[in-house]
């Protein structure tokens, strides 16, 4: 009974209707493509977003397709996260909440001969949700940004030689960033107005990863995993759609113009170290140059978005692996949990004029709770701060993120690499 209660609760958490999702987040979410989402898995969130070199057989690691080679069973994962962002300037304060769905990922081993696995999924890669309200004696305006960039992917990974895994996936980038404005006047005779400008984007790219087990290089490197990978730059087809809804709604006007966008390539590297049977440490570095990126342009010589810049992100994490099925011996409840800690430093892509750029530091903690046969509920909390390089030249964010993800792998999930 308890099992069902927990699964039901977990499913409810993951599949919670989006009615309460308010289009609010960080003010930096308005810039460019929105705020890049580092991970969409509470497992990785709990370790500061690291895990590029993870070989966890119970994780469909969306960071690195090469790691799918280590998948032991078919798994379906989904995530939801909830952010509270408090934003301050020298004179003002705002507090926003943002509940978002992190998508689905499915991974399964398909061919034992080369430890081949496949992965499929749909996930957000940026979050462009935010809201601003302001008014004066004449009018009030509510600006909202909604949506972001998502990707639909499918890929495959396999062992090219013992201990060396190569993975690749095709990613279809799509999404709609909507900028909405409601204009109201204090004078009742003055008609309100609604404005909407959407940037509907699509494009495709490839992402490739390499994961090397240390002992395939030399026995001295046993327990160490190295990972490298990159995503190609993406040329986006961006359609700008302007919808003007005056008071006379029969005069609604939609203007569509087709342009292009550019989403930058990225390079990632990671290391995973087995500290003992159950303890692992990870370190990642992620580089992505947004300085030439832009969301939309109709020009034959597009100009990059000047409020974006080159980014790099460093993250470190440590994990105590959950004792899922008693593989580390029969133990107490607390011993069965997976425990995680992490920290990250992120030179974000945001560079509002005069700010010198926005940097983010965060620490995180997480727990993995076995909830059934091979299914896990992962929870994480991340606390951090985004600050401008030039103090007071841009807002400062303090944020708390709660993430919950579920990794389902029940008995009826097939195939499984491990004979049972």
């Amino acid at each position: 009974m308890l099992r069902f209660l927990m699964i039901a609760f977990a499913c409810a958490l993951v599949l919670q209707p989006t009615k309460s999702i308010r289009a609010q987040g960080s003010p930096f979410d308005f810039i460019g493509f929105g705020r890049p989402i580092e991970t969409t898995n509470a497992h990785l969130d709990g370790m500061g977003g690291t895990g590029y070199a993870s070989t966890d057989p119970r994780l469909v690691n969306a960071l690195n397709p090469a790691s799918w080679t280590w998948l032991a069973r078919a798994r379906l994962e989904s995530e939801i996260h909830f952010d509270i962002v408090q934003t301050n300037t020298a004179t003002q304060e705002g507090r926003n909440q943002n509940l978002r769905f992190g998508g689905f990922v499915f991974g399964a081993p398909v061919w034992n001969a080369h430890s081949m696995s496949i992965g499929l999924g749909v996930q957000p890669i940026t979050d462009a949700n935010g809201q601003i309200d302001f008014g004066d004696s004449v009018s009030t305006r509510s600006y909202r940004s909604e949506g972001g960039v998502s990707m639909l992917f499918g890929g495959v990974s396999g062992m090219i030689t013992s201990g060396v895994s190569l993975g690749g996936r095709f990613e279809l980038l799509f999404g709609n960033i909507r900028h909405l404005t409601d204009l109201q006047f204090s004078d009742i005779n003055t008609a309100s107005g609604s404005f909407e400008r959407d940037y509907s984007i699509n494009g495709s790219r490839g992402t490739f990863g390499l994961l090397i087990a240390g002992d395939s290089i030399a026995p001295a490197f046993h327990g160490i995993h190295l990972a490298f990978g990159f995503s190609l730059a993406t040329k986006l087809n961006t359609t700008q759609r302007t919808v003007v809804t005056p008071f006379n709604t029969d005069l609604d006007t939609t203007i569509e113009t087709v342009g292009v966008g550019s989403y930058p390539a990225s390079i990632q590297a990671g290391i995973g170290i087995s500290l003992s049977d159950r303890y692992r440490a990870y370190g990642d570095v992620h580089l992505q140059d947004f300085s030439a990126a832009y969301l939309y342009s109709t020009s034959s010589s597009p100009v990059a978005d000047s409020s974006l810049r080159s980014t790099n992100r460093f993250a470190f994490g440590i994990e105590k692996v959950p004792n899922m099925v008693g593989e580390y011996g029969i133990s107490s409840f607390w011993d069965r949990l997976g425990l995680r800690l992490g920290a990250s430093y992120y030179v974000t892509p945001f560079r509002p004029a005069g700010s010198g750029g926005i940097n983010e530091v965060a620490i995180s903690a997480g727990v993995g709770i076995p909830i059934s046969y091979e299914s896990l509920l992962d929870l994480a909390i991340t606390v951090g701060q985004r600050t401008p390089t030039t103090l007071n030249a841009a807002p400062t964010d303090k944020f708390i993120r709660l993430s919950g993800s579920i990794s389902l792998s029940e008995r009826w999930f097939v195939p499984s690499r491990v004979s049972e």
Partner: protein, 431 residues
């Protein structure tokens, strides 16, 4: 499987985490609930990063390069090759006059009835004209005095399309006379005894009765055959005596309308619109110049407000005591070029008096400006009219102002004092 730090083994026992797991999960959920219950405070922070902001502006234009004003009146309506007096289909006939320092206008009622043939007319014994009074007064609205005189018109000058008539066109001797005091809301019937000795002289096919106001200081209204309610149509009642047999006959008018003659002086720098005279002011907006001159206004602008503001000359304006006449003049959007007898106009709004300055009337024309910005080919301008009612002329619908005598005089674009000239106050917003 080569080196993996993780074990993936067959389950040895049920891994279910019991109450403790539920407890941990519940704690997390409580934390989430507690955090989500924190009060949200949306703010202005980050507005400078929002790329698609809205510009809101208010401008006032009053230069003649933005407006065109022209005045015209029409007295007849032609449909299917037939011409009618523009008040032909009115449901009110106005009879009376206003003559003071600021206004000089007079209105007559004309009626035609089916009567017996010439031979039978010789047997007529008595005759009455019955007019049903409507609650209406224009001019000296506190005065209840009515004086109507009925004249014959036998020269055949009165038909569907008659627009002018003078005393010289009428018989020299009145057929009947009514003098009395009736309040405006009485809905009384006025009965005027007609001189049968005179009636017998006329060709009944050519006979028309014309009711001319006498010593009156206002205009009153009577019902017409177009009033659907029984008893409101003008009636001719008479008796004929054939060898001692008295027969009573009554006929409703088959032709009835009013001839309105506005003799008020034209006022320099001003324009007047007037009901029953169907005098209108045609207004055009030069959008091309507007868009060229005013920053950020254009095709996809949202027009939050577009007030045409006119300053009224109160001395030379007047409306009746009819409740519907207290509405300001109407704005009619024209739907075709040169639509002088506009059957395709659309009532857009009525003028409202500015509470902060009663000399100003404001007309909301937002909808038209927005429409024309999006489709300039629809910009046929609009008209200021005293009212708007659709009448059927041989099955054709025509908008006329035959139900009112209201007179609105506004300062025009050529007013000597620029502060009195019409202006357009625009509040608009756009990306």
């Amino acid at each position: 499987m080569p080196d993996s730090a993780f074990k993936s083994v067959k389950a040895k026992s049920s891994p279910i985490v019991g109450f403790s797991g539920l407890f941990a999960l519940s704690l997390f959920a409580l934390l989430a609930i507690a955090l989500s219950s924190c009060k949200e405070e949306t703010s202005i922070i980050g507005a400078q990063y929002f790329s698609d902001t809205i510009t809101v502006r208010t401008v006032t234009v009053k230069d003649s390069s933005f407006f065109g004003f022209s005045n015209y009146a029409f007295s007849t309506v032609t449909t299917a090759s037939q011409t009618f007096n523009a008040n032909y289909a009115s449901s009110s006939i106005f009879i009376g006059k206003v003559s003071d320092a600021n206004e000089n206008a007079e209105s007559w009622g004309v009626f035609k009835f089916v009567v017996l043939g010439l031979d039978s007319l010789a047997h007529i014994d008595s005759a009455q004209l019955q007019l049903r009074l409507l609650p209406y007064r224009f001019g000296d609205i506190g005065n209840t005095h009515i004086e109507f005189t009925v004249y014959p018109e036998t020269g055949g000058k009165i038909d569907n399309a008659t627009t002018t008539l003078g005393t010289a066109d009428l018989g020299a001797t009145p057929l009947g006379h009514f003098v009395g005091d009736l309040p405006s809301d009485s809905s009384n019937t006025i009965t005027i005894n007609l001189d049968t000795a005179q009636l017998k002289k006329y060709d009944p096919l050519k006979l028309a009765l014309v009711v001319v106001p006498g010593a009156m200081t206002n205009v009153r209204a009577v019902g017409t055959s177009e009033v659907a309610t029984a008893g409101f149509a003008p009636q001719l009642l008479y008796t004929v005596d054939y060898s001692g047999t008295i027969t009573e006959v009554s006929h409703p008018a088959y032709l009835d309308y009013h001839l309105f003659n506005d003799k008020s002086a034209a006022l320099p720098g001003e324009f007047t619109i007037r009901g029953s005279a169907n005098r209108r002011e045609s207004v055009s907006i030069n959008l091309a110049n507007l868009n060229k001159t005013i920053d950020s206004i254009g095709k996809y602008t949202t027009v939050n407000n577009a007030f045409l503001v006119l300053k009224i000359d109160s001395l030379h304006s007047r409306h009746s005591d009819n409740v519907s006449d207290t509405l300001g003049p109407s704005i009619i959007q024209l739907r075709a070029a040169n639509a002088t007898l506009d059957s395709t106009g659309v009532l857009v709004s009525y003028g409202t008096r500015d509470p902060s300055d009663p000399s100003l009337y404001k007309f909301q024309i937002r909808r038209m400006i927005e429409l024309w910005q999006r489709d300039p080919t629809q910009n046929f301008g609009f008209e200021l009219r005293t009212g708007d009612i659709i009448r059927g002329f041989l099955g054709y619908s025509v908008s006329v102002e035959d139900y009112t005598l209201n007179r609105w005089t506004f300062y025009g674009i050529d007013a000597a004092d620029p502060n009195n000239r019409p202006k357009l106050v625009l509040t608009y917003s756009r990306f």
